[in-house]
């Protein structure tokens, strides 16, 4: 398959790894955060860490949309789903995320709530068209990649006067989370981690472009390499970061230039700005409250905003206290540092969000990495 096989080639990987080994300075450490959960998954799936010298450490970031949604927002989705006449349409990976008091969408479904798994916002629209006597609520989550599809669905619903469709909006912003990791006092109090450089997300950057990262490179002197999702992409990006750090540069480099431009996808950005505006405050699991870090529907589209339409309040909830997800999401702890990991918390019976999504660090460790430390 073109544009895929080339970036999974073993011989190319060996050459890149050789360059990384030769150029990495043994007198220093390289702590590189891959922001995006898609990268976390790929790093474990392809055993990237085993190709790196010991002084290059990959720190797993908070870019897993399922993982960063706080328990209180999931509880809201469960309450919405349990209302009479409601069909809640959700991306599949939200269904097993634990809410408060052992609840989850899966359990609510078993108890009789009408919860449907959808692949795309188009499926949610079709559900609303097919069920005119029901209220269809789309549980919208995710970073800048899933936001434009939600925006287009709302526009389509408005155009078709689809009065029984609404969106429970939980869309969040990548640059806000990176800024929070770099500077927010709340995160400092919670215990942060020193990071030397960032592997920039792939699909998020396709939408927002490389420009938003320039601020982090300039202001915080942290190099960024925007990386594709394949193993060769990741190795090449790591090499770019090693070179920048060796040369004392802090720039935004674009490894995924076959899909990412400086300005990103204008059509997608315009769709988002027509429908959404910034929320003054949003709570993130692991990062706490971050101002202007999430989106809500503009007043003109209030009729499609499930929070306003059903007057559903947000009630903060702590989740399982023994779960180390919050620290893992900041890169301050590894999954294996959590005493629940792999014993009572597994992908089959997750106690924390990081074990649910395949993009979560705990799920990636469990699926591909949990035997790794034993063999070393």
């Amino acid at each position: 398959m073109k544009h895929l096989d080339e970036y999974r080639d073993a011989e190319t990987a060996r050459r890149l790894a050789a360059s990384i080994h030769r150029e990495a300075d043994t007198d220093r450490r390289y702590r590189l955060m891959e922001f995006c959960g898609g990268h976390t998954h790929a790093i474990f799936r392809y055993g990237i860490e085993d190709l790196l010298p010991a002084n290059i450490e990959m720190v797993h970031g908070p870019g897993c949309p399922v993982c960063v949604l706080p328990t209180g927002r999931l509880d809201m989705a469960i309450r919405l789903a349990k209302r009479d006449g409601v069909i809640l349409a959700s991306y599949g990976d939200m269904l097993r995320v634990p809410g408060s008091k052992g609840q989850s969408l899966m359990k609510a479904k078993a108890d009789g709530a009408d919860i449907r798994m959808v692949y795309s916002t188009l499926d949610a629209l079709k559900l609303a068209e097919a069920n005119p006597d029901r209220e269809v609520i789309f549980f919208a989550i995710g970073f800048e990649t899933t936001t434009p599809p939600t925006a287009l669905a709302i526009e389509a619903a408005a155009k078709a006067k689809l009065g029984n469709f609404s969106v429970f909006c939980n869309h969040v912003l990548t640059p806000s989370a990176i800024a929070a990791i770099l500077e927010a006092p709340a995160v400092r109090d919670l215990g942060a981690v020193e990071i030397d450089g960032f592997l920039g997300p792939a699909h998020v950057s396709v939408v927002i472009g490389s420009q938003p990262y320039e601020f982090f490179a300039e202001e915080y002197r942290k190099p960024v390499a925007i990386s594709g999702f394949e193993p060769i992409d990741i190795l090449q990006s790591i090499l770019m970061l090693v070179r920048q750090l060796n040369e004392g540069r802090a720039e935004v480099e674009n490894q995924y230039i076959r899909a990412v431009t400086r300005d990103g996808n204008l059509r997608a950005k315009q769709a988002v700005s027509r429908i959404f505006e910034l929320r003054r405050d949003f709570e993130w699991r692991g990062l706490g409250h971050i101002p202007y870090s999430a989106l809500r529907l503009k007043d003109a589209y209030a009729a499609f905003d499930a929070e306003r339409r059903f007057d559903e309040p947000y009630i903060a909830s702590e989740g399982n206290k023994a779960c180390a997800c919050p620290a893992i999401l900041r890169g301050a702890k590894k999954p294996t540092d959590c005493r629940l990991f792999g014993s009572v918390c597994t992908p089959e019976t997750p106690l924390g969000s990081c074990m649910v999504s395949s993009e979560g660090a705990c799920a990636a460790y469990y699926s591909y990495g949990r035997m790794r430390e034993r063999t070393q």
Partner: protein, 82 residues
């Protein structure tokens, strides 16, 4: 993901190694059969830029042969990578 056919003003069929799926092309400019796209939750987010892909592959082709040869010559090939 390769576009194999346009099926409507904002929809297309794409193929990934033989698996065919209908997706939205509402977010990209000027989609055509034969274009490769980045797909996310049922929406094409971008077209792959063929010229940039070739440049990336050219960079990759030139990377690390000498470093790999050095490591092999030093007898380190049997150790942890490379």
């Amino acid at each position: 993901m390769k576009i194999v056919a346009l099926t409507g003003p904002e929809t297309a069929k794409v193929s990934l190694g033989g698996i065919v799926k209908e997706i939205s092309i509402a977010l990209i400019d000027d989609p055509k059969p034969g274009d490769y796209v980045v797909l996310h939750v049922g929406y094409a987010l971008a077209k792959i830029d063929e010229a940039e892909a070739e440049r990336t592959l050219a960079l990759l082709a030139a990377e690390g042969s000498d470093a790999l040869a050095e490591f092999s010559a030093a007898g380190e090939a049997t150790e942890a990578p490379p």
